[in-house]
C-alpha cells in the first residue's frame, strides 16, 4: 500500500508534465485544426534557456525562470509568424509539415550549440523532499503538481470567465463567424500560440531537473503528451489533463511492477489499445456532439 501511494504521487507528478504539454497540443489544435509536431520543442527550448540563464550565466533561479518564460513568449510569436501564419489559408497538411520542419530545425540548432551531451539543471529547492507517513514527497514533483493545479485553475477561469477567453473559444469553434463579429482572428491564434509555448515551456522548466536537458527531451515529452490527448479524446481540454495524469500513473506503475527499461513502452501500449478499442478517447462523445 505504501508503495502504491508512493507510485501514485510520482505518477501524478510526471503526469502533470504530460498534461501541461497535452494542453498546449489541444489548444493549438482547436485554434488551427492542426497538430503541432513541434510542441515538445517548446519544453526543450525552455529547458535550454534555463541552462543558459541559471547554469551558464549563474543567475538566480527565479530570474532565470522568468527570463525563460519571457523567451518562450517571444518564441511563440516567432513560431506563429514563421511556421503557421504564412500557411493559414492552406489545408492542414502543409502546416503539419511546417511544424515538423520547425521541430527538426530547432532540435538541430540546439545540437549545434550544446552538442549531444545532456545538460544538468539543479532542482528548485535545496531540500530534496520530505516524508509524510510512509510516502516520500520529492519537492520538485510537489512543485510540478502545485504549478499544474494553479495553471489549470487559471485556465478554467480565463476561458470561462473572461471575454478574451470566450473570443478564443469562438475563434476555435468557427473562425469565419468570429471574423464576421469583429473578433481579430489572427491575434486570437497568436495568443493561442504564445500561451501554448508558455505552458509547454513551463513544463520543460519544471521537468528539466528530473530528466536531463537534452535535444531528445522534446520528442519524448511530445509523444507522451500526444498519447495523453488520444487517451483523453482529441481536442478535449479536460481530457488532455486527465489523459496526461493517467499516462503518468500508468507508466510509473508499469515501471515499478513490470519492467523499468520498458517504461516508455507502456505509454505507447496504452496509446495503441486506445486507438484500437476506443479511438474517440475517454471524453470522445462530447467531441462528437459538437461536430
Amino acid at each position: 500500500m505504501d508503495l502504491v501511494l508512493q507510485l501514485l504521487f510520482t505518477g501524478i507528478g510526471i503526469g502533470s508534465v504530460y498534461a501541461l504539454v497535452a494542453l498546449g497540443f489541444v489548444l493549438i489544435f482547436r485554434a488551427t485544426n492542426v497538430v503541432n509536431f513541434a510542441q515538445g520543442e517548446f519544453s526543450m527550448v525552455a529547458a535550454f534557456l534555463m541552462v543558459i540563464f541559471a547554469v551558464d550565466l549563474g543567475w538566480p533561479y527565479w530570474l532565470s525562470a522568468l527570463l525563460s518564460l519571457g523567451g518562450m513568449a517571444v518564441y511563440g510569436v516567432i513560431f506563429n509568424l514563421g511556421v503557421y501564419y504564412p500557411l493559414r489559408h492552406r489545408t492542414y497538411l502543409p502546416v503539419i509539415i511546417s511544424t515538423i520542419g520547425a521541430s527538426i530545425l530547432v532540435t538541430n540548432t540546439m545540437l549545434a550549440l550544446y552538442g549531444p551531451q545532456p545538460q544538468v539543471l539543479a532542482p528548485v529547492f535545496e531540500t530534496p523532499g520530505f516524508n509524510i507517513g510512509p510516502v516520500y514527497l520529492d519537492s520538485q514533483y510537489l512543485l510540478i503538481i502545485a504549478v499544474t493545479i494553479v495553471l489549470v485553475a487559471f485556465q478554467y477561469w480565463f476561458f470561462e470567465h473572461t471575454l478574451l477567453g470566450k473570443k478564443l473559444q469562438a475563434t476555435s469553434q468557427d473562425k469565419e463567424m468570429a471574423s464576421l463579429l469583429g473578433i481579430p482572428v489572427a491575434a486570437m491564434i497568436m495568443i493561442t500560440f504564445v500561451y501554448s509555448a508558455l505552458i509547454g515551456g513551463l513544463a520543460g522548466i519544471l521537468v528539466a531537473p528530473i530528466l536531463f536537458v537534452s535535444i531528445q527531451m522534446g520528442g519524448t515529452i511530445a509523444l507522451k503528451a500526444f498519447a495523453a490527448t488520444i487517451i483523453g479524446g482529441f481536442g478535449d481540454v479536460a481530457g488532455a489533463i486527465i489523459g496526461g495524469l493517467a499516462l503518468g500513473v500508468i507508466e510509473t506503475f508499469g515501471a515499478a511492477y513490470v519492467s523499468v527499461p520498458y517504461k516508455d513502452g507502456f505509454a505507447f501500449l496504452v496509446l495503441v489499445l486506445f486507438l484500437v478499442f476506443r479511438p474517440q478517447g475517454l471524453f470522445g462523445e462530447r467531441v462528437a456532439e459538437k461536430a
Partner: protein, 247 residues
C-alpha cells in the same frame, strides 16, 4: 447617397462566375430584400459586402466610401453586421455568450456593459430568455436563429445583412422571426434581407430585387413585384409550381 451601393459586382468561385456585374443600392432606413432561387447569387452578394467573398471586379461603397478589399473584421467595425446563412451559432458557447460576442466590433466596452446589453436583447427575443445559459448546439433551429439575429444587433450596425433567416424553420417560428425583423425596422436599422420565401421577404420590405443566376432581373416595391405574374410563378414561389418542383 445610398447607405450601401454595389456597383457592377463580379464574383467568381474558381471557374464559376457567381455574380456577373450586379448593381444594387440600399438607402438608410430601408428594408430591402433580395429574392431569387438557388444559385441566383443572393448569398454571394451579402458575402461580398461583409468581406467574406472577394469580388473580381466592381466596387462596394458604404456611406460613400469603398470597402472593397477590406477584411470582415474591419467591415463590421464600420457598421455592417452579417447574420450568415445557417445561423452559425458557436456550438460550445451559451446563448448569452454568443450574443455578448456580437459586440466584439465595438471598442472600449466593459464586460458588465456588454452583459447588460445582452440581457436587454432578451426583451426583444423573449422566447430565448429561458435558454440564455444553454449551449449553442443544444438550441433548436428557431432559437439559434434568434440568437444569431440578436448577436448581429449587438454590433449596433448601421446595416444588418440577414441571410435566409427562415431557412429550415417551422412556419410559426418563421412568423416570429419576421415579427422581429419588423421590430428591427422600427428601430431604424437598415436591413438587406436575403430570402427564398418571397412572401415573407416582401412582407417586411420596402423594396425588392429579384436575381437570377448572378444578374438583376427585376426591381420594385413589394406590390409591383407581387403583381408580376411571371415573376410570381418563377421566383416568388410561396406556393407556386416552381417552389413545389424545387421542394
Amino acid at each position: 447617397m445610398p447607405l450601401i451601393e454595389c456597383k457592377d459586382l463580379v464574383v467568381r468561385y474558381g471557374e464559376i462566375e457567381a455574380l456577373h456585374g450586379l448593381s444594387i443600392a440600399v438607402e438608410a432606413g430601408e428594408v430591402v430584400t433580395l429574392l431569387g432561387g438557388n444559385g441566383a447569387g443572393k448569398s454571394t452578394t451579402l458575402r461580398s459586402i461583409s468581406g467574406l467573398a472577394k469580388p473580381a471586379a466592381g466596387d462596394i461603397l458604404f456611406e460613400g466610401q469603398s470597402i472593397l478589399g477590406l477584411g470582415p473584421e474591419e467591415i463590421v467595425r464600420r457598421g455592417i453586421a452579417h447574420v450568415p446563412e445557417g445561423r452559425r451559432v458557436f456550438p460550445g458557447l451559451s446563448a448569452r455568450e454568443n450574443i455578448m460576442l456580437g459586440a466584439s466590433n465595438r471598442k472600449g466596452l466593459s464586460k458588465a456593459q456588454i452583459q447588460r446589453e445582452a440581457d436587454e436583447m432578451f426583451d426583444l427575443f423573449a422566447d430565448i430568455r429561458p435558454f440564455a445559459d444553454a449551449l449553442g448546439w443544444t438550441l433548436s433551429g428557431g432559437q439559434q436563429q434568434m440568437v444569431a439575429v440578436a448577436r448581429g444587433l449587438m454590433a449596433q450596425p448601421k446595416l444588418l445583412l440577414l441571410d435566409e433567416p427562415s431557412l429550415g424553420l417551422a412556419p410559426v417560428i418563421v412568423q416570429k422571426v419576421f415579427a422581429i425583423i419588423g421590430q428591427i425596422r422600427e428601430r431604424g436599422t437598415t436591413v438587406l434581407l436575403v430570402e427564398q420565401n418571397a412572401r415573407m421577404g416582401l412582407s417586411v420590405a420596402d423594396r425588392g430585387y429579384v436575381l437570377e443566376t448572378g444578374r438583376l432581373v427585376l426591381t420594385g416595391n413589394p406590390a409591383e413585384l407581387w403583381a408580376n405574374e411571371d415573376i410570381r410563378a418563377a421566383y416568388l414561389g410561396g406556393h407556386s409550381r416552381a417552389k413545389a418542383a424545387a421542394g
